[in-house]
Symmetry: C2
Subunit: 303 residues, 2 copies
């Protein structure tokens, strides 16, 4: 069996080079490669020699590559769809616990026991809705269950999410919000989801409810959120995304003790290749074995 | 079968009254009771009528009652040892994730992506040592395992902790520290554990290591901790306890972006009776059935 020749560009990232080595391949210059692993955006994407049969992109979104016209239909293309879900789910759990256990408020105050003690809530026995339960929801569900929470998954189709106590289709979102102690937003940004969290839906939540957003900023009407946070309508908000990004440095949400904004790091750039490496290794194994690859970019999926 | 008569004093807390009702008992004044559930400290503890056979205290520590001389050896006494472990374990997980996922630093800064992104770590694939793995450690272990961490449990005897990858006796603490990415302190405050975290042991940790303390403040030499936090020896500290408590409002640890201090709320006063209720119900059932009670205070245990 010949060794699989793989180019890792534009830089020979150690984690991805490790994945190639681990699966018995060898890292070669692009003009000798059957596979290109591309760790970057569309800028600087190379002209592909005919030898390249498969291009493995490192991002989940591929809009930029589509717009730049680099995708073709003569090769196999994969993206990183789903590869970062486990990390994002861990971030969502950290945000939720950081809120409910008052880590956030404690970080912004000094031994404010009279404020903090009565506000502490436990995930054990609480109900958490995951709005937009796809890959991230599948990873988050067992974490929440391990903490003793009841999980309500909401997704477009209503197709049951493994491990969730209940899965509801998106047309029952209001019902899920009303039944939950806390909510995690993991939905895509579409015309239907834009400002889905507004004055009306915030009023369905509870005075102790925390909202976690690891999806896209436009899902939340931030002015409505600010009103709910400052009037006791909900307990707090933990946001990894804002609208727009970055937020203004004097954004009023920064001033609130019941808000934390992490700077879009649920899938941190610094960990990207470490997270991708085991998935790339699996795909290299599949490619060599002639099996279908993970995260195939299918014709019609944006191009 | 006669109804078990239970006094809930000094106030008829709803959660504990509910536990009595749930197990078929009735809440009565103290002078008619076979059982006293006492939700308070030693101050104001009543003279006990001869009818009282069992006193259920609501605190894990009983030193105050021993010092006040209220315990006797003619009745059964229970405390709340172990009843709050699950909540404290959840708090420890929240503190650890709050640190490693940079929720803490994000709460203290404003979209500091250049600082936060490279500092984010994942529990998945990391190794966490639980120092003093008793009841809290037993509850924390499955949470850490669900997050994909390797768990090193350290306790006095070295008796294996269910679910931990390795359990070590306390004389191997240095080895555990050196092998870990992060540590959670859950040990009692004894002459042996006082300042166990000092310049020497901090130097065994890693630049990304977070220390979580949900046990007792004196386990940590805070001056040494401050040095380690400000010189890059470790990544951060999440403390629910300090030495002394409360800390001075101008304590230098409050000024650090890689530190959070929660005001001794891992077992919050506001949730105490809600957490105790299911354990009280179980003990009421056992008492009626003539079985051995949970959390018995044994002669020689401090008095």
């Amino acid at each position: 069996m010949s060794t699989l020749r793989v180019a890792v560009e534009p830089v020979p990232d150690e984690h991805l080079v490790g994945a190639v080595a681990e699966t018995g391949g060898s890292v070669v210059p692009l003009d000798q490669a059957r596979v290109l692993v591309w760790v970057g955006g569309p800028d600087g994407f190379p002209d592909l020699p005919d030898t390249v049969e498969w291009v493995a992109l490192s991002t989940a979104g591929i809009e930029g590559f589509v717009d730049a016209g680099v995708l073709d239909d003569t090769r196999i293309w994969t993206n990183a769809s789903g590869f970062y879900a486990a990390g994002v789910a861990e971030h969502a759990l950290a945000m939720l616990l950081g809120g409910t256990r008052q880590i956030v408020r404690s970080a912004k105050t000094r031994w404010a026991k009279d404020l903090v003690d009565p506000a502490v809530r436990t995930l054990r026995g609480s109900t958490v809705a995951i709005i937009g339960a796809g890959g991230i929801g599948r990873e988050l569900t067992p974490l929440l269950k391990a903490c003793g929470a009841t999980v309500l998954a909401v997704n477009r189709s209503g197709r049951p999410v493994d491990g969730a106590d209940i899965t509801m289709a998106a047309d029952r979102t209001d019902e899920a919000l009303a039944a939950s102690d806390h909510i995690v937003l993991a939905a895509p940004d579409t015309p239907e989801t834009r400002h889905m969290i507004d004055d009306r839906t915030l009023a369905m939540l509870k005075p102790h409810s925390w909202i976690v957003n690891v999806a896209r900023g436009p899902l939340i009407d931030e002015a409505a959120l600010y009103r709910a946070l400052t009037s006791g309508v909900i307990g707090g908000a933990a946001l990894d995304v804002t609208d727009p990004e970055p937020p203004a440095v004097d954004h009023p949400l920064f001033d609130l003790d019941n808000v934390v904004i992490t700077p879009h790091v649920a899938n941190p750039a610094g960990r990207l290749t470490a997270e991708m490496a085991p998935h790339l290794a699996e795909n290299l194994r599949r490619f060599t074995a002639g099996e279908e690859l993970l995260a195939l970019v299918r014709a019609g999926q944006g191009y």
